[in-house]
Subunit: 341 residues, 2 copies
């Protein structure tokens, strides 16, 4: 079934020149709208362009302005993003819609390995994008460092501890965590624990800090399980660990909705009733929250708006030649109380 | 908190020329490794490059070869992908790993609106990418048409009814659907229905055709609910509809695992026990399958391998100047029997 017919290659400016029987330079002058080209050459070139199916190379045309019309969205940990965190998908869609309005092309780049990290750095320095949005960077992340070195207009989603020179947009993870944990305690829980995750980034650390703020002196360190990723599996493992360490646990704050879904699963397997015996709360208000049984009480964060505002900020950096506001922007969150606590 | 200090712009070749006190043309000759540049100018230019922090524009350097070193992955319906279909995330990760091995940069482009579609077409024709992989295209999809017109090396994931000129890689959706439905019938079910979805693309139509193959003359059209997307919500709606139309239904084939998860939810709400009263099977063997209660019986498709092989096929098209094999490639699937039927 192999088709061995030659397939046409993409036409180049050389093909146009050969077809029109003029020099490459003459074709280039016509393409650039320059004067001093004879009408007959111009007509021949225009006919040749149609005949060979030449499509103008925008990457070339934009060299003079050092502009590509594209913005990178850099996503770390694609596994957890695509499988466990629909929230980041919503950030991406918000970014895409805002850039689309401004006629910019969003290109998403995933960083899955060390090698990806090096290659993406080269790509970012190669003139293919005019700016970048970095989502869920970790402490000491080499991409954020490279972007700063390149002076590429960029915005971080999340508060960057390690890259204060980049503007950022985020939410008050610490305050929001404190608020939902206080509400959980307010339902009469006496042994409240937390499944913490993502402690190598600001959101994870801040959610744990907010939990500590709410508990104060009542904090029992045995009631904190530290997991690596914001994932369903982390929730299963963390809840199993907490039930083992503290069988009398009656409330648990999960670092994300995916973690909470896993915790609910482990509680069901252990025969604990939610919310009667154990109250469970999450964080994100992502699609997970409405799929949990019982429906999850959680913190709503405006993921789509975060993405859209990040897009606006990076465009502002580009338009101002890097002189736009570099202050951090914090968006509001609120607690959504459903049935799991 | 606004920082109003001027922030350095990205250095251009003009900055290098000004710093080195030479013409732009001389800088260009040094960058291109051309001879006939005095040693003193060369040394001054190299010092200037370091001083102003100039980074070579790869988009420019690659113009001569019409090569960007990047491949686009075009994702239609990002909402359903990011929220409901971790399978497509796995295709993306497989593609990324294979392209990374070949030192190509994967850039993902989402098509969410008509406007996205037009802008992406322009981007693909603009010399920013050397090839494209199209995931989950619909019937008459304008992007696939545009790619064919541009003669851009491209591969489709899924069997393309409408674009036979593009090579593709996929699975035998029809045969696999028939196989799992026959197995479901084999558990003694007498009233087997289907929640169909994605009927505007080959995968959705083929899964429905396989269901029909398995049922043959026993097919009751009332037992097929047609939904738009492969989503959790489609499963809830479809199952509710089927229970209403045929309260005696005792088996259901869902067009994807996300659809099955929604169906299980609706069955639980309706007080039906799974698998005792109703057997449920899905399709994909994505992360959803292991999160369902009970664990989902489903068709395993090798999503990561699909992505990796799509990457290899597009690289083959690029290297051969479009003369690579254009035959379709079909990967194996198998039924994974768990607890839901």
């Amino acid at each position: 079934m192999t088709d061995t017919r030659p397939r046409p290659k993409r036409a180049t400016i050389f093909d146009v020149a050969a077809e029109a029987k003029v020099s490459r330079g003459t074709v280039s002058r016509v393409l650039n709208g320059e004067p001093y080209v004879s009408e007959s050459s111009r007509a021949a070139i225009e006919a040749a362009i149609r005949k060979v199916g030449y499509v103008r190379n925008t990457a070339a045309r934009n060299l003079a302005t050092q502009s590509s019309g594209a913005i990178a969205l850099i996503v770390h940990e694609p596994h957890s993003v695509f499988v466990d965190d629909p929230n980041i998908g919503n950030i991406l869609l918000g970014t895409n819609a805002a850039l689309s309005d401004a006629d910019y092309q969003l290109v998403s780049l995933v960083i899955d390995t060390e090698r990806d990290s090096e290659r993406v750095t080269g790509y970012l320095g190669g003139g293919f994008v005019d700016g970048a949005i970095i989502v869920s960077a970790r402490e000491g992340d080499p991409i954020s460092k490279a972007i700063a070195d390149l002076h590429l207009p960029a915005v971080m989603v999340g508060r960057p501890d390690n890259q204060p020179q980049l503007p950022w947009i985020g939410i008050d993870n610490r305050g929001a965590a404190r608020q939902i944990v206080e509400r959980l305690i307010g339902t009469g829980r006496r042994r409240v624990g937390m499944i913490a995750a993502g402690l190598d980034r600001d959101s994870g650390r801040d959610r744990l800090a907010g939990f500590r703020d709410a508990l104060g002196d009542d904090l029992d360190p045995a009631l904190v399980s530290e997991q690596e990723l914001y994932s369903f599996t982390a929730g299963v493992t963390g809840m199993t660990e907490l039930l083992d360490r503290a069988p009398d646990i009656d409330g648990v704050f999960c670092a994300s909705d995916a973690v909470a879904a896993g915790a609910l699963d482990a509680l069901r397997s252990a025969g604990r009733r939610v919310p009667e015996q154990v109250g469970v709360v999450g964080f994100d208000d992502s699609a997970w929250a409405l799929r949990c049984q019982p429906l999850l009480s959680t913190v709503h964060q405006p993921a789509g708006v975060l993405g859209a505002r990040a897009a606006e900020l990076v465009l502002e950096q580009i338009r101002s030649g890097g002189r736009g506001s570099r202050a951090g922007v914090m968006l509001d969150t609120h607690v959504v109380w459903r049935d799991s606590a």
